[in-house]
Structures are given as C-alpha cells and as structure tokens.
C-alpha cells in the first residue's frame, strides 16, 4: 500500500486555509448523533476532547489516571513557542517553521510544520482567555524568553511550570464540557484494543482499572492521544505510567508506526545514583545559559574525585576540560541538545565521568556567580568587594533565575549546587517517532486518528525546546477538530454503532485471554525484572550512539527477553480487581515488541540524524571531522512500518520528504 500524505496542493502559506475552505462539514444538528472516543487526556487529548465536545460531538474520553490533570504533560517546564512577534525581533510564521524544520534535522513534513507555526499564535490567545496565568511584564503584557536553537524570543511561559498551567487550562475546558454532559469521562480506564468494523475504527476495548471489568465502547471515530514511549528504556524522564500500549495496539490492527528510533536525549538530567533508580529527573535546559560544563583533564583527578580524596572545587581552571567550549567555540555550552548529549557521553565513555557510576559531568555555576557578583558590586557602588561579598551578590542573582531547580537538585542529590558543581548526564526524554498520520492526522486505519507526542509528524529527528506543548495543543484545539469533521461528514446517517457484533466480541476475547494468561502464569520473575533488562539493551545498543553490529545484537537480545517474559513472568493478584502489576505486565509486553522494531528501524537508518549518532556515519575530514553525518540522498524519508506479526518481519514503507520551501543544509555549530 502506497502512503498518501494527503498534503494539499498550492503554496505552503495557503495550504491550510484552502484546505479548510474546501472540506466537508457536519451540520450542528447532525453532530449530536456522532460519537468520538479520545484515548488519553493530556495536552493533545484534553484539548481535542474539549473542542470536539464544544463543536457538538458526543465525546467519550479515557484516562488511565484518576483525573485528566495528572497527565505527564503537566511536568513540562520550559515554555511554549508561538510566532506572535510581540518582541518585534523579527519573528514570523515562516521563521518558526524554518527553525522547527532545521532543528528537526530535516526529517519532518513541511506542510504539517508550517500549519503548526501558523496556528501557534492562536494557542496563546485561547489559553489566556481560559485563564492560564502566563508571565507578564510590568506593563501588563505577556513576557517572552528565548530557547536553544533560535534567534528570537518567542517562548511564552508560566514560571517553570508551563506544562502544568497549559494542561490545567485544557482540563478546565474539559470540565466545562463534562458539566454540560458533552464529555463522558472514564477515569482509571485503560484502552487495551481498537475495534475495526468494515475497515473502519469503530470502538475500543477498555479495562476498568478499579474493578478489572472489561468494557466495550463504540464510536464513529477513535482518537489516540496517549503520549510518548520513552519508557521503553525503563529509565527516562517520562512518568512511570507513560506507555506505548494504545499506539502499539492500533499498530497491530493496521496503523503504520513511523520512525520508532527517533528519541530525544536531553543533556541536563540528574544522573542515576544506583541500580534501584526508578526514573530520571530533568533539570531545565535553561541552566546551560549560565553553567559551564567540564570534566577533569587528568584521569588521576577523576579517580581522586570518585574516591572522595578530592573535591571538584580543588581543581584549578587548567586542570579542567571544558570540552564543549573546546570542541564548539562558536556555540560553546549552548550547542543543541543532541550535540551536548553526545559530547557528554563521549567523555564518560572515555572514562572521565565524575560520579561513582562514571556517568556524570559537571555543570558549574562558579564563573556565572562571580561575573554577576562583580556586576552587582558595581551597580551597588561597593568599592573593593571581598571574594565572599562578590559570591553572595552573585549567588542572589543565580538564585532568582534558577532557585527552584537548585532546590530540586539539592533535595535529590543532597549537595548544594551553589557551593559545588551540579552533576548532570543525558537521559531519554521525548519520542519524535510514533504512529504514522497523514495531513488530516489520520492513521492508516480509516477513522483512527493520532495526535500529540503519540504521532510522528512535526518534530523530525530532533525536537527543539518549547515545541512539544505547541504541537499537542495545536493538534487538539485547532487541527483535528477540522480534519475529523471531513471524515465524519460521511457518517451522519450511520446511527449508533452497536457493540454487540462479532468484531467487538473477538477483540474482547483476545484482551481477556491475555489478562488471564498473566494472572495464571506461574512464572518466577517480576515484570520490572524484564523491563529493566530491556532498558539496558536499549540504552547500550540503541541509545545515543549506535552501530550495525550492536543493533543486530539488540534485536536478537530483545527477542530472547520477550520469549523469556512470556514463560517466566509472574503477576500476583487476580484479574477482577485493581492490580497495578497486571497493568504493568501488559505495557511491558508491548514495550518488548516495540523495542525490537525500534532497533530494526535504527539499523535500517544508516545515517546520523538528530539525536542519533550512527557510528558508521561520521564526517571523516574537514572542519566537521568527527561530527554526525546526515545522508539526505538516501534517507530523506519517513520510515513507516507495517505490522506483520513478529517485529522483525515488519515491512518498511517510505514517505519521501519533499522540501520545497526550505533548502537542506548541514547543521554546524563549530
């Protein structure tokens, strides 16, 4: 089957407007007879549920949490981009579009990204109208800040809790529709399969996580908004419950899965402290504005620090290797996320990691504190200030900028980052791959849509800061509500979809059998045992840097872990009760399949691209020697995989990417 992206014809700036002018509409009286299921109620699913209900459709929304307010969108810190040009610094729809395509290493779909940039300004207006308390300046107007990879200030923010406030905005819009009876909310429910009738998505099978009851729900269309799958690595910055299940189930029923190997590795996370670690905590990227990153130059100093014989502050400037400043003099500590992450791993792999696990580099604020301190002394007219006074003045400035992050670090690591450098290490953060969708956000299953992080379309191989929130809300508030109407206009005479059909029966039976298998399997190993084992293979062989040999090994090893899992997994408790171990078992079973497809996709992509360094594809000489080498000639395509049973048998479909409005260029940060 050929992939049809359904990108409208015409100049890029007119595509979305022309499209909206020509699609079929559903009249308001008919919307009342149409049901839509939305799985996941974070930024994308929450905003979609509220808007579809507002339009008049009957929405059934599903969340595995006790409330939509718990979705992991809530943890996003930095901000949301929008091409408002409030600062008058030259921003425009085109520039946001350009930065996003370039930042994504030219592996996203131009038309989708342009539309995203186009609706971005609306998002801010909408959220402000809903009472989202964005930061304001003293004149009462909205404040902006800048993020990595761009030259303008277009990031809107609410302290370090932008994701929280945007999610609560979408949640409040949902609440209004729940009160009106237009959204029926199913909390603590997990979707375990999609039901396809006559080739169209017509419903889902869900499990009530309190009672264990298996339920059938029908609708005229199904929207998947279930977030990312970074937890395939076990350790990531994702919430513990974040999973791939909804996306994977629709994949197994016919939705192609695109670019599974595109994962963002974030450079500034708190390092792992031991084998018991359950997840990783992100420190905002904004810290790199003032922190200098280094490791000791000499191995004997590394050993002395690890053994506690020396402190980092004992080392002089000359004894430190500021490796980002050394390798990338133009951008220094502010190189993009993928470059900073790879460089940290390179130093740690060479043995220079500074903590007991050997997986940490220093992020040092000493220079910034001194610089701010001297400046403050001048401002306050303090003559000949002592070092202590300079430090005190400088520390106050750093505290005002990053106080909450420093406090969070101190709580976790039990060290005062004002006095000793922070330790950081890269961690898995966001997945740019996901379910393949066309311009309408429809998957390869008619009537089944996929939005937000769960789809693949907008970020390419690397995501710029402050663009994830933008995509989630753009899809949910402003894109899907139009595109789904075009499809649903064909359903105004269909009437209620019955759940009493062989298709629902078969899907329910399959789900029940799997659950019964888990609770009856008398295995000897916990679900976490397998998840950790999978995560280790993923990180070691399909992580930030990869090679063909390692990826082939990873595929075989994951298959072996999967086979052992189905023999040896032990799930205590029963099916008909709240059973968190059973929930985890189902999710890890899906990760064990996705993980193998992930490695297969990475093996096929013989180029370094975005956050992924393919060891065989590096620049061999010239000014970029040793840096990642992209291969536009052979790999400027979306890899969409079709399910054929075993992940190793998945069939590749290519959507060739066309760049008509942006020239493909090498990214250089030297």
């Amino acid at each position: 089957m050929a992939l049809d992206s359904k990108v409208p014809k015409g100049p890029i700036k007119d595509k979305w407007t022309d499209y909206k002018n020509h699609i079929d509409l559903v009249n308001p009286a008919n919307k009342r007879h149409i049901d839509v299921i939305v799985v996941g109620t974070g930024l994308a699913g929450g905003s979609a549920s509220a808007t579809l209900a507002e339009l008049g459709y009957n929405v059934k929304a599903f969340a595995y949490q006790d409330s939509p307010r718990r979705a992991h969108s809530i943890a996003a810190q930095g901000g949301i981009n929008a091409a408002k040009n409030y600062q008058g610094d030259g921003d425009s729809t085109y520039r946001l579009f350009y930065d996003t395509v370039k930042g994504g290493d030219y592996r996203s779909r131009e038309a989708n990204v342009y539309r995203l940039a186009e609706v971005s300004a609306n998002i801010i207006d909408q959220c402000v109208a809903q009472g989202v308390p964005f930061a304001r300046d003293y004149g009462g107007l909205l404040d902006n800040r800048s993020f990595g990879g761009v030259l303008v200030s277009r990031t809107f923010y609410a302290k370090g809790q932008t994701g929280q406030q945007l999610l609560l905005g979408a949640y409040s819009a949902m609440n209004r529709q729940i009160a009106r009876g237009k959204i029926e909310m199913f909390n603590r429910h997990e979707m375990l399969d999609v039901v396809v009738v006559d080739g169209k998505a017509r419903g889902i099978i869900a499990r009530n996580l309190i009672t264990g009851e298996i339920e059938r729900h029908s609708a005229h269309a199904v929207v998947i908004a279930s977030g990312g799958y970074g937890n395939v690595y076990f350790l990531s910055t994702n919430a513990m419950g974040s999973n791939v299940t909804a996306g994977w189930k629709i994949h197994k029923k016919g939705a192609h899965f695109a670019n599974p190997c595109y994962t963002q590795i974030h450079p500034t996370c708190i390092p792992r402290s031991g084998d018991y670690q359950s997840k990783l905590t992100l420190m905002s990227e904004s810290l790199r504005n003032d922190g200098r990153i280094w490791v000791p130059k000499k191995m004997e100093d590394v050993m002395a620090i690890r053994e506690g014989r020396k402190k980092p502050t004992d080392l002089s400037e000359e004894e430190r290797d500021y490796y980002l400043e050394r390798r990338y003099p133009a951008f220094g500590n502010l190189v993009p996320r993928d470059v900073a992450s790879r460089a940290a791993k390179e130093r740690c792999d060479a043995g220079f990691g500074v903590n007991t696990t050997g997986e940490a580099v220093y992020l040092d604020f000493k220079s910034a504190i001194t610089r701010y301190g001297i400046e403050q002394a001048k401002i306050h007219n303090i003559k000949n200030p002592s070092d202590a006074k300079i430090y005190e003045l400088g520390q106050a400035i750093v505290e005002a900028k990053y106080g909450n992050l420093f406090q969070m670090y101190e709580k976790i690591v039990d060290q005062d980052p004002y006095k000793t450098p922070m330790m950081i290490y890269p961690a898995v953060h966001y997945t740019m791959g996901g379910v393949w969708v066309d311009y309408n956000l429809m998957t390869t299953i008619p009537g089944c849509y996929c939005i937000g992080e769960a789809n693949f379309s907008d970020h390419g191989a690397n995501r710029l800061g402050a663009s994830a929130l933008m995509q989630g809300l753009a899809d949910g508030y402003f894109v899907l509500p139009y595109t789904i109407g075009d499809y649903l206009s064909g359903d105004i005479r269909t009437g209620k979809i019955s759940t009493d059909t062989p298709e629902f029966e078969a899907a329910e039976k399959e789900v029940s059998e799997r659950i019964n298998f888990f609770v009856n399997n008398k295995g000897t190993k916990s679900v976490d045992y397998f998840h950790k084992k999978l995560g280790k293979v993923m990180w070691d062989k399909a992580g930030m840097s990869r090679n063909a040999t390692g990826l082939k090994e990873a595929m075989a090893e994951i298959k072996a872990i999967r086979e052992e899992f189905w023999k040896e997994v032990s799930v205590p408790g029963t099916a008909n009760e709240m059973n968190p171990e059973l929930e985890k078992a189902g999710r890890v079973a899906d990760f064990l399949e996705l993980g193998e497809l992930f490695a297969k996709d990475a093996l096929m992509r013989e180029e370094s691209c975005g956050g992924h360094f393919r060891e065989e594809s590096a620049e061999l000489d010239g000014p970029q020697k040793g840096e990642a080498k992209r291969n536009d000639e052979d790999f400027a395509f979306v890899a969409a995989w079709e399910y054929k049973g075993e992940p190793a048998d998945a069939v590749l479909h290519k959507e060739e990417l066309e760049f008509n409005d942006i020239e493909l260029k090498q990214r250089s940060y030297k």
Binding site: E54, Q65, D66, S67, A129, M408, E577, E581
Partner: protein
C-alpha cells in the same frame, strides 16, 4: 539501612483493612521514599505475595498522584515536597515507619494506599473553569493587560497540584485550601470576573455536598502543602463567597 514498615493493607473499597508489618533491608539513603516502596514490592512479588498498591506517576513532584500518609504526616516529614521527592536520608537505620492512605470521608480507599480523589474533579466540574469557547477565535492575548502582580499571584494559586494533602492533614478534612486556590486564580484575572459569583457559589456548594469539612483556621493545610499554597486563598474565597451572597 534496615527498616520496619507498618503499612495499611485493604483489599478493596468494601473490605476491612488492617496494618501489616514488613521488613526492608539495604535501603540506600539516596533512594526516594517511593523507590524504597519499589524495593518492598519487588520483594513481595518475588515471594508470590501481592505488592502494596500506591498511586504514583511523574516522580518529579508535579502530577499530584502520590498520596501517602507517613508517620502521621501527608507526604511525610520533609517540608514543601511530595512523597516522590521525600528521600530516605530523612530516616535512620532501624526506624519503624507507619504508612497509611490519606484519610478523609470524601477520599474513600480503593485499595491499600490508593484513595479516590474524584470529589476534587466534581468540584471543578461545578465551576472550576472560564466559560470560553475553544474555537481559537478569541481576542489577542495582549488586548487585556494584566498587572504583573496579579498575574504572579494568580500563578501562585494555580500552582496547586490537587494532591489532597490539605484535606488529609486537616482535622476537619476541609478542602478549602484546594478550592480557595482555584477560586483565587480566576478571581485575580479579568477573564474570570464575569462568572465569578456563580463560580464560587457552585464550587463551595459542591465541596459541601462531597462531605468535606469546614475551615477552622488551624493552618495545618498550609504547613503540609507541598506547593506552599497560602491560607490567603481561603480568605479570598470567603470574601468572594460573601460578595456573591449580598
């Protein structure tokens, strides 16, 4: 370190619960409290027993999911943190730690340490929103300037994560810190003014209906709130309610 845990076990909402003793060994002081619970659960699963059910998710202190009552305090002995940010260095080798679910009539226990906080959602359904269409046809965001002071204050109120520590801590199981925070956020912003009177009336009525108690100005909620939501929000809610009633 080695610890004795006294944990509330309850099969489901209708069963009777009881405290059960467990031992955990080799707990590192660097672990979070939830990682210590993971160790216990791994131990239970390996011996074929049912692990202790507890709510948790982001483990970054922001989703509001974790809800343990530790040694008689919501989220345990540290200040300004949720249970996921509580670290084992707050405890000593040989300690006995009592772990219970949040206790309030409006938060019924579902299993072990998991409670049902949907009453919070129903209070929000009663008016915790601004009635604006999600059409994207709203006016430009800068067309209504908002003073930095008001925006910052609204943001402080909006910081509430809905964890319910205020309810669990209050001797009356009052939800007024939670409701006050939401009422305040909208009361401080021009966008929320139009329906302010209905909002506060409806939210307070729903709060009473759910079985939450009243505030008697003890202030324990503010002390235990992981996000430092201030009592001023309760005062503001009362003023708003008064305004709406005259």
């Amino acid at each position: 370190m080695n610890l004795t845990l006294k944990i509330w076990r309850q099969k489901d909402a209708s069963s009777k619960g009881q405290m059960v003793d467990y031992k955990v060994t080799e707990i590192s002081e660097h672990m979070s409290f939830l990682e210590m619970m993971d160790v216990l659960n791994e131990q239970l699963v390996n011996s074929g027993e049912e692990p202790v059910a507890f709510d948790h998710d982001c483990r970054e202190g922001i989703c509001g999911m974790c809800s343990m009552y530790i040694n008689g305090e919501a989220h345990g002995p540290d200040r300004g943190v949720t249970t996921c940010q509580l670290h084992m260095r707050m405890f000593k080798d040989g300690d006995t730690i009592t772990i219970e679910p949040f206790r309030a009539a409006a938060f019924p226990v579902l299993k072990d340490l998991v409670v049902d906080r949907s009453s919070f959602d129903r209070i929000q359904h009663a008016g915790g929103y601004i009635s604006v269409n999600t059409s994207g046809n709203t006016q430009d965001a800068n067309s209504i300037p908002i003073s930095k002071h008001a925006a910052d204050e609204a943001m402080d109120a909006a910081t509430c994560i809905g964890c319910g520590a205020c309810v669990a801590t209050c001797k009356n199981s009052s939800a007024m810190l939670f409701v006050g925070a939401k009422v305040s956020q909208y009361a401080l912003l021009p966008q929320g003014q139009v329906e302010a009177a209905d909002r506060v009336r409806n939210m307070v009525a729903q709060m009473d209906l759910e079985g939450f108690g009243n505030c008697t100005n003890t202030g324990a909620c503010e002390v235990e709130c992981p996000k430092g939501i201030s009592l001023e929000n309760i005062a503001r809610m009362n003023r708003e309610l008064m305004k709406a009633s005259v």
